[in-house]
């Protein structure tokens, strides 16, 4: 049985569709890339898992138990971590306080230990620990958003558009850190990304979404080699 299973998910905001029918599975320790253009349904899928977006049809289960109707705060307690699109760090709070919010469900002693681990993954955050998060650069804010989500020691990490607006070297570093955390903690990751080249490079498997439907899916390696995918999504000839 997979860790996380999504079956024929339909997300609807009133008359507007977020996704029509998305199905995917996720196992411990693997990264699945959710690739597609703006409006393809990537963010809606992640938000539906977190309990933020309204699910009209379909199922989402974690360890075989449904996540539907569970409030976001309790989804976190079931073992999910979420880094939203656009980072959305708490700009008025310090870097340390942002991490503390991320770890609000763990006790004080593990909080200290976990924060040290985060500073280990992201040394820049230690340097800026008492600075207001709003004053960080885009790349630092993205690191913080990731660190904040990982504070609660999730088993499943939902990462929405981490590369948006960042320099290539920062994007590459984020990829390395995800791999590092995954290796150390057996984390399962769903990576929603427009940057298909990068996403396919760091993911094990990929699902390509088009207008709320699954267009193609398979191993990332096979997709990188698929001429059709190359033409349509990777911009290669």
């Amino acid at each position: 049985m997979s860790l996380l299973t999504i079956d024929q998910l339909e997300v609807r905001y009133g008359p507007i569709y977020g996704t029509h029918s998305v199905s995917l599975t996720l196992d411990a320790g693997e990264t699945v890339a959710l690739v597609g253009s703006n409006g393809a349904g990537k963010s809606s899928t992640l938000k539906a898992i977190m309990g933020i977006a309204p699910v009209a049809r379909g199922t989402i289960t974690l360890d075989g138990k449904s996540l539907l109707g569970v409030r976001p705060a309790d989804v976190v307690r079931r073992g999910l971590g979420y880094s939203p699109e656009g980072r959305r760090v708490f700009g008025q709070l310090s870097v340390r306080e942002n991490l503390e919010v991320g770890g609000i469900i763990i006790d004080k002693a593990s909080m200290r230990q976990r924060m040290e681990q985060m500073f280990g993954y992201f040394p820049r955050l230690r340097e800026r620990a008492s600075q207001r998060a709003g004053s960080l650069s885009g790349g630092e804010q993205q690191m913080l958003a990731i660190g904040r989500a990982l504070m609660s020691r999730p088993r499943v990490f939902l990462l929405d558009e981490p590369s948006l607006g960042l320099a290539p070297i920062v994007v590459e570093r984020i990829g390395e850190i995800i791999a590092e955390v995954q290796k150390a903690e057996g984390l399962a990751v769903i990576l929603a990304e427009q940057n298909a080249v990068w996403a396919l490079a760091i993911a094990h498997r990929a699902v390509i979404l088009e207008l709320g439907h699954i267009a193609v899916q398979g191993s990332a390696e096979a997709m990188r080699a698929d001429p059709q995918v190359q033409r349509a999504f990777l911009g290669l000839e």
Binding site: R88, G91, V101, G102
Partner: protein
Amino acid sequence: MNFTDLLTPVLFGQILLDGLSVSSIYILIALGFTLLFGIMRVVNFAHGEFAMLGGFALYCLWGQFKLPFIVAVPLAGLVVAAGSLVLEQTVFRFFYQKMFQSMIGLLGLSTVMMYSAMILWGEQERQIPPAFTDTLEFGASLFGENLLLPVDRLVMFGISLTTLAAFYLLIMHTRIGLAMRAAAEDVEVAEAMGIRTRVVYRQAFAVAIFMTAIAGALYGQIYFLSFQMGDQPLLKAFIVVILGGMGSIPGAALGGLILGMGEVFLSTLFGPSVSNFVSFGGVIAILICRPWGLLGKPE
């Protein structure tokens, strides 16, 4: 008459002391108001009625049950805050994150609370008996004339200062405060980090009403007690919060200090009508030049 002749060092010191104690009460009322707006986005037009309830609670606990004053005031705050949770469940929570609806709905609640108080306690104004009647005199060697400091005012100032300090510690140094600040900034993400926003809302509500009721109790003791006394505290909260910036906690502190000091200064030197004219004039000027307040941020 020469202005500098009028403003002797003693008078200046007197104004400063009065101004501080008035300011601390305004800050308490305004903090409650700004907390409700900053976190739940409700504009609490019934705010003054909670201050009134604080006044009546103090009247009972101190005036009638004869509890020690410094126990009666915080207890009055607690009683009102605990009771207000009923209104949180039955009225307020339906207006969370609905700013415009909340204005109309809570204006209605304000009227209901006001006239319920009239039915319960009657129309007549009452006086909360003074807690202390002594006056400290000091500073003669320094200024040639004594500064007068009523112990009454000193105790009130101490109580509001302690409440403010406790609030600061709660907001800046506890998990509850951290959750409140996070929710104030981005409710959706706060919830997605594991913060149960329903719980945070309830806690913030109780804290806001606690501070307001304490301020109302002190306000009621300085002035008078009546079912209509809520108008003034609401007005003050409004001015302070507009001055400082809606939803801004440091803004409420700054705004309260400016309004309290300004009022005492101007009304001592030029009379209350000038003082009102200037404080409302200041609000209009702020709204024109800096609509988001001194320390608020543009939306």
